[in-house]
Amino acid sequence: MSTLLKVENLSKSYSLNSGLFGPTRTLAALSDVNLTVEAGETLAVVGESGCGKTTLGRCIIKAQPATAGTVTYYPKGHEAVELTALNKRQIKPWRQDIRMIFQDPMSSLNPNMRVFDIVAEPLRIHKIAKGKELEDRVVSTLEKVGIAADGVGRYPHAFSGGQRQRIGIARALVLDPKLVIADEAVSALDVSIQAQILNLLEDLKSDFGLTYIFISHDLGVVNYIADRVVVMYLGHVVENAPTEMLFERPRHPYTEVLLEALPIADPLRRKGRNVEVRGEIPYLGNRPVGCPFHTRCRYAQDICRAERPALRPIHGTAQQAACHFAESLDLKGAYEAPATGTYA
């Protein structure tokens, strides 16, 4: 596998003005995020709401400018491109390669445009096709995502949520991209539709040779689709591991807490739960000194309150974690032996 995208020391902070003469505070949504995306993999980014996972996606695709750090894209047969250094005009050709699928299928499609025009818009902007060719390409892309050709003249409101999400996917794929950032792409859909869309994404991945950055808060979905998982907390990457390893044996206490929160459809196994997360997620503008998670971590020691652990490879595994005790802690994963006992 070759590296497709590298994110180095990416930071994003917002300045908050409290009133005209009030002090300006900065709120760091992302701090020093490092990760690489390999060609052909599905990388999931998970975390609670407010942890910066959406901001990460938007900074990578430059929907928002990053405050510091670099995002480098490695196109096949072309030298590396530092996306963060490009201006609007320079980045335009690369927008064909990196595309986005949005969370809310209701607001991500222009209600005043026909489905055909919505999907054709990127082709028109990049002047890739016109006339008959454009028509063919739009219709065949829509066919691939499961929208019949007789629907192309309709407006988005004539479609259901799942169908709209398919149209959104078609819009992302019509330019034949390399990397697709799916920001909570299935969160707004109900569960049966989620499964359909996830399967569609899987199929399209092999058809188009795609790489996904899959942003989600739903670990069940992530377990299903992702090859590798990045766990974020308060704008920091706290763990980065292959999916199976992460679910088998997490290396960061926060990951353990997240896995523990997975709903279990088995009352007997549910009983055995003992890890509870303490406290509230801290306010971003007032982040703790030391390890960002120490205020809620049940394993926290003095060192955690004083020193921020760096994200480092865990010896002997393919995992990376930002915890002082990543090797020594024996954290509980989500794959467990089947529960014993009877359903009384």
């Binding site: 949005f102 050709a149 007789d150 192309v152 004539a158 959104g168």
Partner: protein, 379 residues
């Protein structure tokens, strides 16, 4: 099912002829459900038609006066006449006047004389004129064959001028000043409000403060001051445009706010972000993605702004600070109805006021209907 889908792919003609109703069709269907708005639309259309065909519809020139018929009362149009020999004739006519001079009051009083019948003629020949300024015609919709006979369907004013003809010409000025003012306001409103909403930042703050400042000023004194500053020697056309500019000086602020609000709310919509991520230019995003989704709202807001303009012009002209004679507008016509004596003897001089009320109400209903219909999907 499968074969059906296959033929669809084979024949992409389906794409060109979508079965779905267009946005416009949906709007029209919704609009039609609002009965008052529909009535409003017809009345507004009728008024604007009158304004367009003013020269053709008005039986005489608006400036033509006849001191013999000052304050002549309205004549009723009648269709069936009985002759002295008992036979009946069919055809529109009006009765003439019997005038007596009241020596004490020093004024002429009129009474309808049923003996005198002045036949009305359709497409009566007249002095040659240019309809709407460019179509040469020498015929009016109706008139009298002998220009010396009186024809005052809505009565006469203090110089013996035909109120109906003046009202018709006034309609043109009053309605067009409303439209012109709103067009000008819309132009500035969309440009300034659009910039303000799309780019935000300090420009937005400055524009909003300026708008608040303008709106905090009492409008009537401001208009009066500005109108009084117009040079007296300006021609009628110059005054007309100056008044339009003065009216839109305040009108643009309202529309700019509406436009800015729409831009602000749309700017963060995902479909706008999607267009940005497609690599679309700002111009394309604004014109193709944002403006179409609120154009109908803007049209509705503009329609609702027209009555304000008409009222403002009428008020200014009524006070003698807007348009000046010889320009005929509803406001200048109402100037004649300023004192109680005239009103008591010639109440028909108030007809322009009725026109104002009718058109303002119609425009409001029409605008309301448009605003409701602008949301055809009921979003």
């Amino acid at each position: 099912m499968v074969s059906e889908t296959m033929t669809d792919i084979a024949a992409p003609a389906v794409i060109k002829k979508p079965v779905r109703e267009s946005q416009r069709a949906l709007m029209w269907r919704r609009f039609k459900q609002h009965k008052l708005a529909l009535v409003g639309l017809w009345i507004v259309a009728a008024f604007y038609l009158v304004a367009l065909l003013a020269e053709f519809l008005a039986p005489v020139e608006p400036g033509a006066y006849n001191p013999r018929y000052t304050y002549a009362p309205p004549q009723a149009i009648q269709f069936i006449s009985s002759n002295e020999d008992g036979s009946w004739a069919f055809g529109p006519y009006v009765n003439g006047y019997k005038s007596t001079i009241d020596k004490k009051a020093m004024r002429r009083t009129f009474a309808i004389d049923p003996e005198v019948k002045i036949p009305l003629q359709f497409f009566a020949p007249s002095e040659p004129y240019k309809l709407a300024g460019f179509i040469p015609l020498s015929v009016k919709l109706f008139g009298v064959s002998d220009p010396k006979t009186p024809l005052y369907i809505l009565g006469a004013d203090r110089l013996g001028r035909d109120l109906l003809s003046r009202l018709i010409h006034g309609t043109r000025i009053s309605l067009s000043i409303g439209l012109a003012g709103v067009t000008l306001s819309l132009f500035f409103g969309i440009i300034i409000g659009g910039f303000s909403g799309y780019y935000g930042g300090w420009f937005d703050s400055v524009v909003m403060r300026v708008i608040e400042f303008i709106r905090s000023m009492p409008t009537i004194p401001l208009w009066l001051g500005l109108a009084a500053a117009l040079p007296k020697d300006w021609s009628a056309i110059q005054t007309y445009f100056a008044i339009t500019v003065i009216l839109s000086l305040i009108g643009w602020t309202e529309l700019a706010r509406v436009v800015r609000g729409r831009f602000l709310s749309l700017r963060t919509e995902d479909f706008v972000t999607a267009a940005q991520l497609d690599g679309a230019s700002d111009w394309r995003i604004i014109t193709r993605h944002m403006v179409p989704s609120f154009m109908s709202h803007i049209i509705a807001a503009a329609t609702l702004a027209v009555p304000g303009m008409i009222l403002a012009e009428t008020a200014l002209s009524f006070l003698g600070l807007g348009l000046q004679a010889p320009i005929v507008s509803w406001g200048t016509l109402l100037q004649d109805a300023q004192n109680i004596r005239t009103l008591a003897t010639a109440p028909w001089l108030l007809t322009p006021g009725i026109c104002v009320v009718v058109i303002i109400l119609s425009l409001n209903f029409f605008g309301d209907g448009l605003r409701d219909a602008a949301d055809p999907h009921g979003r």
